[in-house]
């Protein structure tokens, strides 16, 4: 069946099988491999995308249900020449090790800051609680996100501790 949706700001039309997930469509048909396949059952968050602005597990989204909606993947967050402040912060704070959780972490973080520009540390931890990381121990990720709150943007780059 045909589905039409907004992907990273652009209208796309794709022919999909109803028994397919958004994750399969993004990686397999649209060749956007920034979104990762981890557990395939909604427990690891590696497949996180924004659906109508909210972070969800694309491995749990039936592709027909995306018709007429808005999807943002990691490819839509920034470009190599124009990185999103969160992407810059992740690099500065050592929040990227193997990189597998990173797309999901960035999108969960972006959604949080869009809703709450000045979250507490606890709110940040809750926001990324669906994104598992096996490498960093989470602290660099939390610090990177903290550095992007409205309050901290002014001192970012001056104090990396």
């Amino acid at each position: 069946m045909q589905i039409k949706f907004t992907l990273n700001g652009k209208e796309v039309e794709v022919n999909v099988k109803p028994n397919s997930t958004l994750l399969e469509v993004l990686r397999g048909i649209l060749k956007l491999t920034g979104t990762k396949k981890g557990c395939a059952r909604g427990e690891c968050g590696a497949c996180t995308v924004l659906l109508d602005g909210q972070p969800v597990c694309s491995c749990l989204v039936l592709s027909p249900s995306v018709d007429h909606r808005e999807v943002v993947t990691i490819e839509g967050l920034g470009t190599q020449d124009n990185l999103h402040p969160l992407q810059e912060a992740f690099m500065e704070y050592g929040a990227v090790h193997c990189g597998f959780c990173t797309p999901g972490m960035l999108l969960s973080a972006k959604a949080l800051l869009d809703e709450k520009p000045n979250p507490t540390e606890e709110e940040i931890k809750i926001a990324i609680s669906g994104n598992l990381c096996r490498c960093t121990g989470y602290i660099p990720i939390v610090r990177a996100i903290q550095s992007c709150t409205t309050e901290n943007k002014t001192i970012r780059g001056l104090d990396k501790k």
Partner: protein
């Protein structure tokens, strides 16, 4: 849950897909499909089951766009929640936070934000896992559930809803449309406690929800519900009756908690042993009763 997720199990089995735009259309489809059809709302429970081939329906009826079932309203004192209300909405709803705060609290501890952004309260109830986090608050609050079919509807008490593991009284041609929570009475207090292996993104090892009514230091009603300690979410009625009529100032609360821990039938599984569950149940029932007493009349 089986961990044998071989590569072919990352895909969905074949099915025919329907996306009705009205409740009426939905009801006539599920009447037609009977046991060959399943409903999908948020998909957070169903999709993994489909991938594991635990369910292999011929038809999947997508009700996620039925916005008419996504609401939180208050009619007089009655709290009415549409079955397609997401956990994310329950968590944040000013009405729920005011009138049934333990439901908001429980919803906020389901899975992760990624799950809460898609999962619905109706799905959580109908999936009927013994650990269902919306079930215990709704049992404690004495909720009623509205079930619709093509030309009839019925309202059942949540006390009668769960039959067995993943089994409810819902018929194949019925849809859960609404959850109704009676008005909070004067002197009522409630609390919810969930214990898991992690502080987030986990099923409960044990959970407890308590609603208690205190008048002049005396308990005049109590509802104590526990999750993950029996084939379904349950109320511990002996512990509840024990508290009624008693002055809740001394040892009564720990006695009730001890009774509750004896009333349950926990099993040992990957998350915890039966003994541990019994022990933790005793502790959190005491905590929840005390917390509920503290909230009473507030």
């Amino acid at each position: 849950m089986s961990c044998r997720m071989t590569p072919e199990l990352f895909t969905l089995p074949p099915f025919q897909y329907y996306s009705p735009s009205t409740l009426k259309e939905t009801l006539s489809l599920i009447e037609k499909f009977g046991s060959e059809g399943v409903l999908i709302a948020g998909g957070t429970d169903l999709i993994p089951l489909l991938k594991l081939r635990t369910v292999t329906p011929q038809y999947v009826v997508d009700i996620s766009r039925l916005s008419e079932l996504d609401f939180v309203k208050q009619n007089g004192g009655l709290l009415r929640i549409g079955a397609l209300t997401k956990h994310r909405s329950l968590e944040r709803s000013p009405i729920v936070l005011q009138s049934a705060p333990i439901l908001a609290e429980a919803a906020s501890q389901i899975g992760s934000p990624l799950i809460r952004n898609m999962g619905t309260v109706g799905g959580n109830l109908v999936n009927a896992s013994p650990c269902s986090d919306t079930s215990t608050p709704l049992l404690a609050l004495g909720a009623e559930l509205k079930l619709n079919k093509s030309n009839a509807q019925r309202t059942v008490s949540i006390d009668d809803f769960f039959l067995d593991v993943k089994k409810t009284i819902i018929q194949h041609d019925e849809l859960l449309t609404e959850i109704q929570v009676p008005e909070r009475s004067h002197g009522a207090g409630a609390a919810f406690v969930k214990v898991g292996r992690r502080t987030g993104n986990d099923l409960s090892i044990v959970s407890a929800a308590v609603s208690i009514n205190i008048q002049k230091g005396v308990c005049n009603s109590a509802r104590i519900a526990l999750g993950s300690v029996a084939p379904t979410p349950i109320r511990v009625k002996k512990a509840e009756s024990y508290l009624v009529g008693k002055n809740v100032g001394g040892r009564e609360v720990s006695e009730a908690a001890e009774m509750a821990s004896q009333e349950i039938r926990p099993i040992s599984d990957v998350r915890a042993s039966a003994e541990y569950r019994r022990d933790v149940a005793r502790t959190i029932v005491e905590m929840a009763i005390n917390k509920a007493i503290g909230n009473a009349g507030v």
